[in-house]
Amino acid sequence: MTTNSASVSEASQWVEVCRLTDLTPDTGVCALIENKQIALFYSGKLNELFAIDNFDPIGKANVLSRGIIGSQGDRICVASPLYKQHFDLKTGECLEEPEHSVAAYAVKVEDEWVSIAIN
C-alpha cells in the first residue's frame, strides 16, 4: 500500500479515521476531523489512498466523496457528482476551473488503520 504524501509538515497531525476494511475499492467516504469534512478515496487498481476537501466549491455542497474516481491523462481525479468538474486527488486542483481548487491531505495506513494528516 502506498499512501499520499501531500503536504505533511512538522506541524501536521495524524488522525485515525477508519479501518482499511471500511473502504470499498474505487469509491470514497467522508471523514469528519475537527469540524472539517474530508473526502477519502481508495483506488483499488493503484492500491492507493487520497484525501481532499469534501466541499465542492462550485456546487457548494459537501459531496466530493460521492464522485467517481478515475484518471485524466496522468492525473488521478474525482469528478464532482453535482456538475462533473474534475479535482486532482494528489493536489486538490480543479482541472476545469483552477481558481476553485481545494486542499489535499496526506494519508497513511498503519496496522490496517487509515489516518489523515491535518495541519
Binding site: 474505487d26 469509491t27 467516504v29 467522508c30 456546487g59 455542497a61 459537501n62 460521492r66 478515475g70
Partner: protein
Amino acid sequence: MTTERIIVVGNGMVGHKFIDTVINSDNPENYEIVTFSEEPRLAYDRVKLSSYFSGSSVDDLMLTSEEHYQSSGVVYTLNDKVLEIDGDAKTVTTASGKVEGYDKLVLATGSFPFVPPIPGKDQPHCLVYRTIEDLEDITASAQESKVGVVVGGGLLGLEAANALKNLGLETHVVEFAPRLMAVQLDEGGGNLLRRKVESLDVNVHTEKNTKNIGAGKKRRYVMEFTDGSELETDMIVFSAGIRPQDELARNNGIDIGERGGIVVDNYCRTSVEDIYAIGECALWDGKIFGLVAPGYQMAKVAYAHINGDSDQFTGADMSTKLKLLGVDVASIGDAHARTPGAQTYTYEDGVNEVYKRIIVSEDGKKLLGAVLVGDAESYGTLQQMCVNDMALPESPEQLILPASDGSAGASMGVDALPDAAQLCSCLDVTKGDIVDAVQSGCCSMGDIKDKTGASTGCGGCAALVKSVMDKELENLGVEVNNHICEHFEYSRAELADIVRVKKIESFDALLDSHGKGLGCDICKPAVGSILASFWNDYVLEDKHIGLQDTNDIYLGNMQKDGTYSIVPRVAGGEITPDKLIVLGQVAKEFNLYTKVTGGQRIDLFGAQLHELPLIWKQLVDAGFETGHAYGKSLRTVKSCVGSTWCRYGVQDSVGMAIALENRYKGVRSPHKIKFGVSGCTRECAEAQSKDFGVIATENGWNLYVCGNGGMRPRHADLFATDLDDETLVKYIDRAMMFYIRTADRLQRTSVWLENLEGGLDYLRDVVINDKLNIAQELEDDMTSNIGKYQCEWKTTIENPEKLKRFRHFVNSEEQDTNLAYVVERDQRRPATEAERENHIPAVEVTA
C-alpha cells in the same frame, strides 16, 4: 410602396409552397395574399397520404394551420371553388359568389385522378385515391367489402393496393400494360417487382383492359375484360393516372396544351398577362410533372418573377425512389434506354431478388439512367451522376455489382459533386448547403437535419447526405472519432458488442483487455450500464459500485444541496389509497418536500444519506419497489384510465401499462426510457412523445417509437399497427435491445433513430422482418435481463455491509451541517445562497 394583391387558386402542396415562400421572403409586407381551396382544409402532405391508413391523423399530415395563415396575414377561404377568371378586370369569381380582385393570379389547381370511361364506373364503391376524403371513403367501403381491386399498376396504384391489403381485403391489381410501373421500369425490373408483390399476397393481372363493370354473382361487382376473362370484386379503386386540373383556365381563355395542362413559359407565366400556373396543372415544354419537387421549384420561380427576379424553370429530374409494399424501387433518368445509341448493363440476382440496370451513353462516358428493384442503396450516387453529367468510372458495371467483400458496390467519391448539386430534392438542399452546415458546426445527421432540413422529406438522400457530411468533416480535419473517452478507443456500441460477445463481466476486466488508464466518469457509468444491460447484476456489488454515477451509487436522485429524492415505482400511475397514505406518512415523518411528477408518481425530496435506508425500509415493508428514477433505465409507463372506466376507451390501457412497466423495470439502457399507453386515439397519455408509445385501436395496439419530450421534442414514428399483446411485447423487446446494443452513450431513442442509417425502415427491417437474423437473440437477451430483476432497495436494506455506506461520515454519527432550508407554500426547500448569506433562519416565507 403599395402592396400587390396575389390570389392563389388551390391550396394544395404547391399553392401552399408558393404562399410559404412569400411569407418567408425578405419582404412579405409587399404582398397581400388571398387563397381559395376547394377542399375543406388547408394544404396537407399528399405525398404521405397513405400514412393516413397506418395511423397518421389529419393533423400529422397538415403542412400549415389556420392560425399560421392568420398570423401571417394570409386570407383564405375553404370549401370554395374558383369558377371564373376575368383577365381584363383582373377578378375571380367563386362558387359561393365571392368576387375578388388581383394584381397577380397564381393557378395551383393540381390534378385529378383519371377514371377510364368504363360503363359502370360511377357506381358506389368505385373510388379514387387523391384526397383525405377519398381515403375516408375507401375505409368505409372496405368495411363492407372482402375483395378489392386497384385499376392501374403504377406508383399510386401500388400504394393503393398496399392500403387495401392493410385494410384486410383480398387485393388485386389490374394493369393495362404488360408490366407494373411501366412508366418507370424496364421489363426486367417490372418482372421482379411483380414477383415480389405477388409473394406479398397481392394478385397482379397485366394486359387487362376492362370493358364493363356489372353486378357480380358472388361479390358485389364483376369486372369484364376485353380478353373475355372476368374478376369479381366488392370495391374498385381507380388509379389509372392523373390529368391536369385545367378546366378553370380552359374556360377562361388561357392557353391549354393539346392533351391538357396550362401552358407556361420558363417563368411559369401563362398566355394571359399577370396569370401564372404552377404544380401539376402546369404544362412546361409539353410536359406535366407529376411529382412534388418540380412543383416546389415552379412555386419559387413564379414568386421570383413576381418579385422582379429572373430565376427560371428549366425542367426537372423525374427520378424516383420509393418503397412500395416494402419493396425498394428506383428509376432514374432514361430508364427505358430511349436515347439513341444507349448501352446497358444489367445485374440480376435471382436468389436475393435484386435487379439493377444502368443505361450509359453511346461513348460509355455518361450515365443516362438506371432501374433498381429490391436494393436501391446506390440511388443517391447514380442519380447525382446522371443529373450532374459526371464522368463514369472506367468500368461502369462496378456501379451495380456487389463488391467482392460483400459490401455495397463502388460508390462515387462525393468530392466529385459540384456544390450546386441538389442532394435533397424534397427540401431543395444542395451539397453546398450541407458543406456550409458542417462548417458552421454540425457534425451529426441529427444536426444536419435540424439545420438544413435535408432528408426530412422522403429520406431517399440520407446516405448521400451522410457521406457528404463525413467527407467535409474529414476535410476540416475533424477526426471523426467515436471513441467514448481517452480510456477506450471504441464507441459505446462497440464496447457493448465486446462485453456481450466476450462475456466480460466487470469494468476492470474490460479495461485490462481493451482500455488504458483508470477509467473516468464518462466510461465507468457507460460500461456499468452496459454490464447491467446484459448481465443485470446488483449494481452495488463491490465490482460495480465504483462505476455508478451520482444518482445510481446511492439509489436516489442527488439534489443541489447533496440530499436525495426518492421515487417509488407506481406502475402505470395506478395506486391504492392505502399506499398513498403510506407515502404521506413517510413524507411527514421525515419532513420531505412532496411533489407529483410528470410520470404519474410521487417524488419525496430532501432525504439525507443516513435517512435513505430508514425511509426505504418503511416503503418496502408497505409493498413499494424502487422506481429507478435515478437510473438510465425504464422510468415510467404513463397511462390514461382506458376502457375499464372511460366511455371512449377501446382497450385496457392501465393493464397494458402495468404489464409493460413490470416487464421492463430495472432494464439499464444508454439513456432513460419512457413509455406511454393510451386507451384510444384521443391519446390522453401523450404516448407519441415517448420512447415507446402504445395507442389502443379497435383491433389491438399501434406501436410508436422514438418520441421525445424534453429539450428537443420529437413526435414518435408509427412503427406497426393493430398488434396483439404478444406481438407488441415482442417488437418492443427487440427494438429496445437493439437500441441498447447500438446507441451511443446518453443518446435518447429519438436521436438514435435520426442517426440510424436507413432510419425507420431499417429499424422495421431489423425488428419486424429480422433482416439481420438477430431477432431471437434480442428477445433472449431481454428475457434473460428481465429474469434477473431485483428491487435494488430491497436487496440493499437486507445487506448490513451495503448499509454502512449510507451515512455522511465514516468516523462519526454526526450529520452534514451545511444544510439550510426555508419554508415555502407549507413545505421546506433548500435556502438560496442569498438567504444563507443573510442567515435567514428556517422560517416560513408564506403563510
